[in-house]
C-alpha cells in the first residue's frame, strides 16, 4: 500500500539538518546545567599492577577544586557490592569498575577524577595528582603472545555458539586442491575516534534519581545499566542523547568514565561534566582489536572452489571478553563444499575492544576477499568471474533460501561503472604517466537484523504528528528516515511530522548498532501508523456515517484525510475527527517485533566495492582515484542519506586499507599514536569521488518497509578492494594493514 509514492526513496533533506548547520544541535557536553562542575579523568601510567597510593594534596589545594576521587575515597557503587558487575556487558566477562579497587589492568585506565568549578581548574589540578604504583610485568604484544590464544568463554558455555569451530565437509580439503594457497593476514588495532570526544554530564536530581546527558548508542540499554549499578528503579534514570557526534560502535558499551562522572556527581552533589581528551579516546572507550588471520583456499583448475579454511585470533582485555563475527562471511559467501573456521581470543593487558563499524566482518573480509583475489591470480581468472562462478544461490551454512540476494546485479553494475574492462589481468599492465594503475574489488555482507521496539505517535489538533522513540541517531539520519516512513504510512506530509529521539523517557528501542535501526524502529513506526489509522477509522463514523463498518483496506489515508477508496468524495480530515470527539490529541503506542516467517530465510545485506588506485613506483604513494560501491540493502528510504552513509563506509575503508594503525610501545603498554596527528584517518585529500548504486529492491521478509541494513556493508569489503587494486597495479601483495608507502618500496 503506497500512498506517497515519492516519500520513501525521496532524497529529502535531513529533518535535523538545520540544527546541525547552525550549531544549534546539542551534544552531550553542551547542556549548561545550573551549578555545573567539571571533571577531568586521571589515567594510569602503567599497564599492570596496583596503585600503592594516590597523593591528591596538591590537587586539593589548587583553586576551585571541589574533590579528588579515586578508589581510596570513592563511594561504593551499590550494584557492585553483592555482584561482580551487575550490568550485562554486550561482550563477555566483566567490565572495568571505576575506582573499585587499586588494580590497574591497562595503561590509561581511569584511576581518579578531579572535580573543579571550571574546566581549566580541573584540568590543571588533574596534572597535580600523583600516583605511586607497584608495577607488575605486563603483556601487550600480540605477536609475542599469539601462542597463548584461548577458546572464547562463550563457546565453552555454549558449544553451539556461532563462534565455535565450524566444519562443513572437511576443513582441510583445500590442502589437496589442484590450485591452492595459504596466507596470513594482520589487521592492527584501530580506534573509532568519532569527532565528538566521549562526554557525559551526570546529575543526581535526588538521592535516587539520576539524569545523564551521555554519548551512547542506546538510551534504554544505558538506563538499564545505570539502574542496575545504582540499584534504583529504572524509571529513576534518565538518559538523554539527542545528538551523538559519531560513534561507529564505541557507544555500544558503558565505559568507566561514565560511572566515574556519576560517582563524582553523587559525591559533590552537583552536576559533573566530563569530556575525555583525544588521547583518552585511545585508552578508555574501545577499539577494533588487533587480529591475526590465516586462510587456506583451494579450487579446481576451472576455478570451482573446493575448500576454504579461515582462522582468526582477536585481541581482548584480561578482564573482559570481546568477540566478533570475523569468520562469518567465509561460512556463507562462496559455494565451496568444504569449509572450516576457527576463532580464538588473546587476552592481553590492554583495555577492552568494542565493535567498530562493520565489526569483525570487515576484518574477516579483508582476509577472505584478498585470498579470493590471490586465488584468481593463481588461476589466471578474472576476480569478477571467479566470484560469479562461486556465488551461493542459497545459504550453504544454514541451508535456507536467502530472503533476497542481488549480489550478482551489484557486481555487474559495479564492474561496468568502474571501467573493469580496462583492467589487465597481469599486474602493472596499466599506467598513467609515472603512476601504476590498478583495479580491485571486494565483497561485503552483514546480517539483515531486526529487533523489537515500540513507538509512540501523537496526532495533535493542528494536524501535526509527534513520534517518539528512545533510539539514538549517531549520524545515519534516523529521524529523517523515520519521518519518511511515517509520512508514507500515515498519509501525512513530512513537514507535519516530528520524530523525537535520544531520550530514555521515550518508548523502547535497542542500541543503534548492527545496521538494524531502520528495520527495527521503522517497523515500529509502521505498526504505530497502522494502529493510528485503525483508531481514526473507528472515529470516522462520527463525522460521516458512511465510514461505518468499513475495514482499513476499504479506506485511503492520504493528505491527512480518510476517504472511501471506491467513492473518494466521501472524505474527512484527521483533525476533524479529533474535533468531533472533543480530543486535543490522539495518542497511540505500538510495539513491533520480527515475524516468525522471517526465521525460514537467511537474511543478509550485500555490497561490492570497486576501487581504482594509482601507485607511484618510486615513492610507494597510493592514491585512491575512484570508488564505486553497490549495495543490496532492500528498499532505500532516503537515497541522499543512504548514499552518504555508503560514502562514509568507503572513507572508513580507505583509512583501514592505507592509514589507520594504533601502534603500541610494548615497553610501556601505551599507544604512541594517540592523537589525530599520529593516528591517521582519511582527510578531504584522501577521498576521491565515490559513486554509489543501490539495487533498491524490497525485502519484505526482513521488515514491512522491505529494508535491509546499510551501515556495515558500507565498509565491509572496501579495504580488500583497495589492497587488491594495489596488487593489480604493482604485483605486490601486502597482507598486513595498513598499506603504507614503506611496504611498497
Amino acid at each position: 500500500m503506497k500512498f506517497f509514492d515519492k516519500v520513501i526513496g525521496d532524497p529529502m533533506n535531513r529533518v535535523d539538518g538545520k540544527l546541525k548547520v547552525t550549531g544549534a544541535a546539542r551534544y552531550s557536553a553542551e547542556y549548561q546545567l545550573p551549578n555545573l562542575s567539571y571533571g577531568v579523568v586521571v589515567s594510569s601510567t602503567i599497564a599492570k599492577g596496583r596503585i600503592r597510593s594516590i597523593d591528591s594534596r596538591a590537587a586539593l589545594r589548587a583553586p576551585g577544586v571541589i574533590a579528588v576521587i579515586s578508589h581510596e575515597n570513592a563511594i561504593k557503587v551499590p550494584g557492585w557490592a553483592d555482584n561482580e558487575h551487575p550490568t550485562e556487558p554486550p561482550t563477555g566477562g566483566r567490565p572495568l569498575r571505576a575506582f573499585y579497587n587499586n588494580r590497574v589492568y591497562s595503561n590509561g585506565q581511569p584511576i581518579a577524577i578531579v572535580v573543579a568549578d571550571t574546566y581549566e581548574r580541573a584540568r590543571h589540578a588533574a596534572m597535580l595528582v600523583k600516583a605511586e604504583y607497584e608495577e607488575e610485568k605486563h603483556e601487550t604484544n600480540f605477536e609475542k603472545n599469539k601462542g597463548k590464544a584461548v577458546v572464547p568463554a562463550v563457546v565453552k558455555k555454549n558449544p553451539k555458539s556461532g563462534l565455535a569451530d565450524y566444519e562443513r565437509g572437511k576443513a582441510d580439503a583445500y590442502k589437496t586442491a589442484s590450485v591452492r594457497l595459504e596466507a596470513e593476514y594482520v589487521h592492527p588495532s584501530e580506534v573509532h575516534n568519532p569527532m565528538e570526544l566521549q562526554a557525559i554530564t551526570a546529575y543526581w536530581e535526588a538521592d535516587d534519581k539520576l539524569i545523564v546527558y551521555d554519548k551512547v548508542q542506546g538510551t534504554k540499554p544505558t538506563q538499564q545499566a545505570f539502574a542496575n549499578e545504582w540499584k534504583i528503579p529504572v524509571q529513576n534514570v534518565r538518559v538523554i542523547s539527542e545528538f551523538v557526534g559519531g560513534a561507529f560502535g564505541n557507544g555500544l558499551h558503558n565505559w568507566p568514565h561514565e560511572t566515574a562522572a556519576i560517582i563524582a556527581a553523587k559525591m559533590v552533589k552537583r552536576p559533573v561534566k566530563v569530556m575525555l581528551t583525544r588521547e583518552q579516546m585511545f585508552f578508555m572507550v574501545g577499539y577494533r582489536p588487533y587480529t591475526w588471520q590465516k586462510i587456506g583456499i583451494g579450487a579446481d583448475k576451472d576455478g570451482r572452489l573446493t575448500g576454504i579454511y579461515h582462522e582468526a585470533i582477536g585481541q581482548t582485555s584480561s578482564y573482559e571478553e570481546f568477540t566478533e563475527s570475523t569468520l562469518q562471511q567465509s561460512k556463507m559467501m562462496y559455494t565451496s563444499p568444504n569449509i572450516g573456521t576457527k576463532y580464538r581470543l588473546l587476552p592481553l593487558d590492554v583495555s577492552t575492544p568494542i565493535w567498530m563499524r562493520g565489526p569483525g566482518e570487515a576484518t574477516g573480509a579483508f582476509a577472505l576477499e584478498s585470498a579470493i583475489d590471490e586465488l584468481a591470480f593463481a588461476l589466471n581468472i578474472d576476480p569478477v568471474q571467479l566470484r560469479l562462478m562461486n556465488h551461493t544461490d542459497t545459504d550453504p551454512e544454514k541451508n535456507l533460501p536467502w530472503s533476497t540476494k542481488y549480489l550478482k546485479e551489484c557486481i555487474q553494475v559495479g564492474a561496468e561503472k568502474i571501467g573493469w574492462s580496462k583492467r589487465s589481468l597481469k599486474p602493472g599492465g596499466v599506467r598513467s604517466g609515472e603512476w601504476l594503475v590498478g583495479y580491485g574489488m571486494g565483497v561485503g555482507t552483514f546480517g539483515a537484523h531486526r529487533g523489537a521496539a515500540a513507538v509512540r505517535a501523537k496526532l495533535l489538533a493542528n494536524g501535526s504528528v509527534v513520534f517518539q522513540s528512545a533510539v539514538t541517531d549517531i549520524g545515519p539520519g534516523t529521524g529523517t528516515a523515520m519521518v519518511q516512513i511515517a509520512s508514507e504510512h500515515l498519509g501525512i506530509s513530512p513537514e507535519k511530522i516530528t520524530f523525537q529521539l535520544g531520550n530514555s523517557d521515550f518508548p523502547q528501542a535497542p542500541n543503534q548498532g548492527g545496521s538494524a535501526t531502520v528495520a527495527t524502529v521503522g517497523s515500529a513506526v509502521v505498526a504505530t501508523c497502522q494502529a493510528m489509522k485503525e483508531r481514526l477509522l473507528e472515529m470516522a463514523p462520527s463525522a460521516d456515517k458512511r465510514f461505518a463498518n468499513l475495514k482499513l483496506e476499504d479506506v485511503t489515508f492520504d493528505k491527512a484525510h480518510l476517504s472511501i477508496t471506491r467513492s473518494p468524495s466521501v472524505k474527512v480530515a484527521y483533525t476533524e475527527l479529533l474535533k468531533k470527539q472533543n480530543l486535543t490529541e490522539l495518542d497511540v503506542l505500538q510495539d513491533s517485533k520480527p515475524s516468525q516467517e522471517a526465521s525460514k530465510y537467511s537474511r543478509y545485506s550485500f555490497s561490492v566495492h570497486f576501487a581504482e588506485v594509482h601507485v607511484h613506483p618510486m615513492t610507494g604513494q597510493v592514491r585512491v582515484k575512484k570508488v564505486v560501491s553497490c549495495a543490496d540493502a532492500g528498499t532505500i528510504v532516503n537515497k541522499k542519506t543512504a548514499a552518504n552513509q555508503m560514502i562514509g563506509g568507503v572513507t572508513g575503508g580507505i583509512g583501514m586499507a592505507l592509514q589507520e594503525d594504533a601502534v603500541m610501545d610494548h615497553r610501556f603498554g601505551r599507544y604512541v599514536t594517540k592523537d589525530l596527528a599520529d593516528y591517521h584517518v582519511p582527510v578531504h585529500a584522501d577521498v576521491p569521488p565515490v559513486e554509489v548504486y543501490f539495487v533498491d529492491k524490497p525485502d519484505y521478509i526482513v521488515d514491512p518497509m522491505g529494508t535491509k541494513g546499510l551501515g556495515e556493508i558500507a565498509i565491509i569489503g572496501v579495504a580488500p578492494a583497495i589492497t587488491n587494486a594495489i596488487f593489480n597495479a604493482t604485483g605486490k601483495r601486502i597482507r598486513e594493514l595498513p598499506v603504507t608507502p614503506d611496504k611498497l618500496i
Binding site: 557526534g245 559519531g246 542519506t641 578531504h684
Partner: protein, 212 residues
C-alpha cells in the same frame, strides 16, 4: 617509566604550588595583617580564592557574532573553551583540543582560526564569528544551505568547523577546483566521511558567485 612520570608530575606541582602559595598565603593572609579569627573568617569566605581569582583574570573585549562583550578571563582559557563554556556558544566544537581536526574553526577578523589553539586573551579587540553568527535571522548563509542540500554531514559534529573553513576557503581564493578544495579543506576531519558531499557544497557556493 613510572619514575619519569612521577618526575613530570612533581615538577608540575612545585611550580603551581609556589604560585598558589604566593597568591593565597602571602597576598591575603600574611600580606594583610590579620588576627587569627579574621584570618579564619577570610578562609571560610574564601576571600583568598576570590582575590586570587580576581588577580588571575584579565579584562578582554571581544565582538562575538556582532555583539560586544566585556569579559574577565584567565589567560589560560582558550577561545574555544570561552565560547563553549562561558558564552554558551556550543556550536563551535571540540574534536581534539590539539589543533589537529578543525572542528573548532571560527573566524577572527574574517579569517579562519583554530579556536582550540588560540588563547582568548590574545584576541582582545577582535571580531569573532562562530557558526551561530552566520545566518541572518531565518535566512541561512549560502554555505549552510549548500551543506543541507548536498548532505555535507552525518553526525553533524565536524559540520560547524567544515562550514567556517569552507567559507574561508572561498574567501582565500582556494576553491578553484575540486582538487584545490580538497587540499585546503584537509585540516577539517570528518570521521563520518561526508567529504565528497562537502566538496560538492563548496563547489556550488563558489560557482553561485555570491559573496560569502
Amino acid at each position: 617509566m613510572s619514575k619519569i612520570n612521577s618526575r613530570d608530575q612533581q615538577s608540575g606541582e612545585s611550580k603551581s604550588d609556589s604560585r598558589r602559595d604566593f597568591l593565597k598565603q602571602s597576598a591575603v593572609l600574611t600580606g594583610a595583617v590579620l588576627t587569627p579569627s579574621i584570618a579564619l573568617k577570610a578562609a571560610e569566605a574564601q576571600w583568598d580564592e576570590k582575590l586570587a581569582e580576581a588577580l588571575e583574570k584579565i579584562p578582554l573585549k571581544l565582538e562575538v557574532n556582532g555583539v560586544s562583550k566585556s569579559l574577565m578571563v584567565e589567560p589560560r582559557v582558550t577561545l574555544l573553551d570561552l565560547l563553549r563554556e562561558q558564552l554558551n556558544l556550543t556550536g563551535t566544537k571540540k574534536g581534539c583540543d590539539y589543533g589537529q581536526c578543525g572542528a573548532c574553526t571560527v573566524h577572527v577578523n574574517g579569517t579562519r582560526v583554530l579556536s582550540c589553539l588560540t588563547l582568548a586573551v590574545m584576541q582582545d579587540g577582535r571580531k569573532v564569528t562562530t557558526i551561530e553568527g552566520l545566518a541572518e535571522g531565518d535566512q541561512l548563509h549560502p554555505m549552510q544551505e549548500a551543506f543541507l542540500k548536498h548532505d555535507g554531514f552525518q553526525c553533524g559534529y565536524c559540520t560547524p568547523g567544515q562550514i567556517m573553513s569552507a567559507i574561508a576557503c572561498i574567501r582565500e581564493g582556494h576553491a578553484d577546483s575540486e582538487e584545490e578544495i580538497r587540499e585546503y579543506m584537509s585540516g577539517n576531519i570528518c570521521r563520518c566521511g561526508a567529504y565528497p558531499n562537502i566538496v560538492n557544497a563548496i563547489v556550488e557556493v563558489k560557482k553561485g558567485g555570491k559573496k560569502v
